[in-house]
Symmetry: C2
Subunit: 225 residues, 2 copies
DNA sequence: AGGCTAGTGACAGCGACTGACACTTCACAG
DNA sequence: CTGTGAAGTGTCAGTCGCTGTCACTAGCCT
């Protein structure tokens, strides 16, 4: 989806190219900062364009809509996760591989998007998404697209056909469901650090087994928050 | 969330009330029919209002936005599911109860919304949701709200605290994830019947266990679609 | 140097939504 | 019954996201 980018740190191309990239980056940063400062809905596209000193029309030439500006960074992080998942050894089972990939991804987000925006800004925009209904809705839809991508990847790892065997999609669905809960709770919590979300992710993933047991009364609960 | 409705089949109140209900129902039906006939985005609020012979402003007095018209029926179905879940005996474990509730809900949707719209219309609108990105996004957000509601219900059944024990949310998340996949695949499939989605639901839910096993190579795959 | 074209600004227009206000019509007390 | 208040509606004007069009400027390439 974003794989045709020349290179993460593109070596200077023509002057035109560089100029384009600069306006795009400027728009992106301005948008995120404004959204975070005054809220997504409270920020008009005109404001963003004015902040960068371009016309509104130009904003829409770079981003199909207001949302797209928000999810540009999210895109990077997701690709980063997929890359980590691809890197997992084939010996790991599906759940194990996904779990390892998310955790590894959190450990290395910083470098993954250092060129574009500081992690701090990403974490803030992630919280913005979680707390803005319109953005959350889009985020969830995009997540299902990511899920499909992951399902195919998992199926491939296991040498299966996604359409012939329900297990890849089911496993990914269950996994993603848990990730969702994690994201939501992190968004509501106090600790906005990467460490916090990593910790919560780990804790919740570990509960999949116990949670699906037929009877909870025999298994031990685990404190958290 | 929709629990303060006077009664499913409200006995005639004042004339004003009845008139109100009639315009609302008319708007709802007109909206759904138009959406299905020509697509959600291709239908303007003006068209809907004109079809019922009221002003655009009036439409927005009944529905906060265009989307809301689509999800009014969905609301009924979801409440229906929750009711079925409430009715499950406390002896059933969480997963077992949720599974039984969905299936029972599908078996009785027809009566559940017969007063408002024919099931056929609901199934069509559900497909519309699945195939319209903007609607799907909202649907998913609403689903997470439903999930939270269910999580609390499950926690209550088991005598647990949702915030103290992750298992209710994790179990519901996994369950819902699978339901999502089912809905999506049904939406893409040929068979648009209630029976079809019920059948798929059952089949996919049965795959949760096998899908979460560490190693899939030992377990048997199951053909489908 | 000079033509080509990508990137932009200015402008006009549509559709979703909102606020304000005036008007009609039901509800209900007297 | 009737007068009065409030509920429900229409009209109008305005904001904002987003799109099409067109003319213009400035890198690009020969």
């Amino acid at each position: 989806m974003t794989d045709e980018r020349p290179a993460p740190a593109a070596p200077a191309a023509g002057l035109r190219e560089r100029k384009k990239r600069r306006t795009r980056d400027a728009l992106l940063r301005a948008a995120l900062l404004l959204f975070i400062a005054q809220g997504y809905e409270q920020t008009t596209v005109d404001e963003i364009a004015d902040a960068v000193d371009v016309s509104q029309r130009t904003f829409f030439r770079y981003f199909a809509n207001k949302e797209e500006a928000v999810f540009a960074v999210q895109d990077l992080v997701e690709s980063h996760f997929v890359a980590e998942l691809r890197a997992r050894p084939a010996t790991e089972g599906p759940l194990r591989a996904m779990r390892a990939a998310v955790l590894a991804a959190w450990d290395t987000v910083e470098e993954a998007l250092s060129d574009v925006v500081p992690v701090e800004l990403y974490m803030r925009s992630y919280r913005l998404i979680e707390s803005t209904p319109a953005l959350l809705a889009v985020h969830l839809r995009r997540s299902t697209e990511l899920e499909e991508r992951i399902s195919r990847l998992i199926a491939e790892r296991e040498g299966l056909d996604v359409d012939g065997d329900p297990r890849p999609r089911v496993a990914v669905a269950a996994f993603s469901g848990v990730m969702r809960v994690t994201g939501r709770l992190w968004g509501q919590g106090e600790d906005t650090s990467v460490a916090a979300i990593r910790r919560m992710t780990e804790a919740y993933l570990d509960q999949i087994g116990p949670a699906l047991a037929a009877d909870w009364r025999t298994a031990p609960p685990v404190a958290r928050t």
